[in-house]
Point group: C2
């Protein structure tokens, strides 16, 4: 039976998951594929660190060159994360003629242009299914299943941490802080969760998904990003009372030659399929010109699901190895000088505003007067009853479609009113 030798770079959660999968399902893979996968080297920082998983000591190395020079090793899995040294290792591996599998969305979103270019030039396999959506086969679906489709739109919930927090807040009436604390305890939020909470993780993923969808490399910096740190329980509850659920949405659309790409919290109508995605689950909704709408749903992170995706790429890399044929170029992601990204300021949305205003006569009239001045038309208003203690009360206004630019100007003016006591919460509504 043919043996495929693999090296793992990094032996954290994902690396250990891959090791466990290849051990546990060794016979299954032999039966299915007629191949035996062997992990020959594992790059770690400390060979002597105590590890829970029983792994033969001789597999560990601290020297990347040793892996690179080992001609038996044909597939290198980069499972370290971060930009450097991941980027250099991936590039060296490709240059040396190795097949590469990575779970690293950050390096692809931020340095993808040179990595994809190198893979293409060296006609090497570059698998990155695990970089987006954990075990959900979104990359495979985009590149293979939907290969015959013009992709018109891709949108989804691609960050489990924030989705867990928003779900817990709404369903159990928790504050943002409490929900975050719970997510940390459950292992759904990292000790420093800011990349997740600020939407950066989602932005990395949508940059990659958008690039694949539209066949052009979209640099990460071009993604408009808002996180969920400003979302309060009150917002979730007000939205719900209007029939909406707030989700952190990552989205890329192509309208004629212009691309819209962004991550932001939005109000989705309760009957939208993405509102049924709860807790740490992820889901991605893709619209193709022939296939229509396709939804993929599952665990978007975690040891076992991510290992499942890495192994699927290892198998694919093996097929290319065996056929000694370079893969069809399914991701001609050139840098596009003419790439046109529509700035968020040019967007047109419906809005949810929550004003914090003094409970005085004439306040609503002032606020709505300013909205009217900027041509922002109101569809619903809720003003809370008088509070016992003196202070600001929330006024919630939903609008018809309005220009983002005018909304910014209007809110700036409103927030300067003396009766307005805090920055207005403004969220977009997607129907």
């Amino acid at each position: 039976m043919r043996i495929i030798n693999i090296a793992l770079l990094g032996f954290g959660t994902v690396g250990q998951g891959v090791y466990e999968l290849l051990e546990k399902n060794r016979d299954l893979l032999k039966t299915r594929l007629g191949l035996e996968f062997r992990i020959k080297k594992i790059l770690v920082r400390d060979k002597h660190k105590k590890r829970e998983l029983k792994v033969p000591r001789e597999l560990f190395t601290t020297n990347f060159e040793e892996i690179l020079k080992d001609e038996d090793i044909s597939i290198i899995c980069e499972l370290m994360g971060g930009i450097e040294p991941a980027r250099s290792y991936i590039l060296s591996a490709l240059e040396t003629g190795k097949q590469v599998v990575t779970a690293n969305k950050a390096v692809l979103a931020e340095r993808g242009a040179e990595i994809f270019e190198t893979a293409k030039r060296k006609r090497a396999y570059l698998g990155f299914e695990a970089s987006v959506g954990g075990g959900i086969p979104v990359i495979k679906t985009l590149r293979e299943a939907l290969v015959g489709n013009q992709i018109q739109r891709i949108m989804g919930i691609v960050n489990g941490t924030t989705n867990y927090i928003l779900t817990k807040m709404l369903e159990q009436g928790l504050s943002f802080e409490k929900a975050l604390e719970e997510a940390k305890i459950k292992g759904f939020a990292e000790p420093d969760p800011s990349l997740d909470l600020k939407g950066i993780d989602s932005a990395h993923k949508i940059a990659l998904l958008g690039s694949l969808s539209f066949g052009v490399f979209i640099p990460f910096e071009k993604v408009y990003v808002e996180g969920i740190e400003e979302i309060t329980l009150m917002d979730l509850q007000f939205a719900k009372s209007f029939g909406y659920i707030i989700k952190l949405l990552a989205e890329a659309r192509k309208i004629k030659h212009q691309i819209e790409i962004r991550v932001f919290p939005v109000l989705l109508p309760e009957n939208h399929i993405l509102t049924s995605i709860r807790l740490n689950y992820n889901a991605i909704l893709i619209k193709g010109d022939f296939v229509g709408d396709i939804l993929l749903y599952g665990l978007g992170a975690g040891k076992a699901p991510t290992a499942s995706a890495v192994v699927s790429d290892i198998v694919e890399a093996s097929e290319y190895l065996i056929s000694q044929n370079s893969p069809l170029i399914r991701y001609p992601l050139k840098e596009d000088k003419e790439l046109s990204i529509k700035p968020i300021e040019k967007g047109i949305f419906k809005y949810y505003f929550r004003f914090s205003a003094l409970d005085q006569p004439g306040v609503l009239s002032k606020i709505s007067g300013i909205l009217g001045k900027y041509g922002i038309s109101i569809s619903s208003v809720v003003q809370m009853g008088r509070q016992k203690k003196k202070g600001a009360v929330p006024i919630v206004i939903l609008t018809h479609e309005s220009e983002e630019k005018k909304v910014s100007l209007a809110l700036e003016e409103i927030d300067r009113l003396e009766v307005v006591k805090a920055k207005t919460q403004s969220l977009r509504i997607l129907e």
Copy 2:
């Protein structure tokens, strides 16, 4: 640019969809793959039939041999449906060394053993993504994305016609007949919809999905099948009042060495993700030992989504052609003499019973007495108020987990009671 010549067998809805896709997205496919796809021959019954689609007359042939002998043609797409002559054509094509793509679940579910065997022996590509779930990439996900997983369970809504009918009945209070009529008008039910309504279409699909999931050929006849023809609006409404939605579920599970495989209408709790699948949409939920639960959702039939799946297979077949390498055998579907399918009689389920009983004192006691005698324990009862006109009234009982066999015996005895005026409706509940 390399040209890939294709023949289509059949030029109905799907065939025309494939033709349209390859025309409309020709440039896209060139850019993505560096390949040009050309339909060289189309097998039809009548060359001179008037067709809406403008197709050069010379592409049509009525002679399959002409296609088989054409050495330019390397990929044959069987899009006729039915068992014969589809089966013979597929086998001849494989024997001749052509790559085959088919959208025909019936021929694979009923004659798959010899077809898979032939493909394997000839080391030919056999694509059948379009045979289950239309444009939803369930075959690719099972065979490729989840290749590292033991599949523990696959379940879903794989028939759009019945799902459309059940949705319309529940949401608009339509009778079965009215909903079916509407489905026909909308083109979601065929003129003779019995294969769909009786669950046969779903059974074909789950036979195939179960076979792929468990790596053993499960003959179609082994699938336990119930359709939806006996489901009444009353059942949907009663179920809803208990917090359940009735769906036609196709399901295959493996527990140790025994397989459970069946199609039946079941009551699913309202918060189950499959209850959010409405109208003619399909969804498949797969549980793997590493990936956890994955859901795939989309349009399960129709011209364009099915064409999308066929083209994805055509592209894959082309990759094998180009690499001149036979595909890894990802579906070692041997016939298994020891295949153990658990008979439905040995099942244990919770049940929903709707009795049609005379509105007399003591009736509930008689019914519950018989249930008790067979060890069937009741969890809820609803007895309708006295009707104005004399006659049977519905009594609905939900049970705790009970043995299917004892349930059959109990219902037989109950249906013989003089106070019971019609066959009892019995449906299983899945939590």
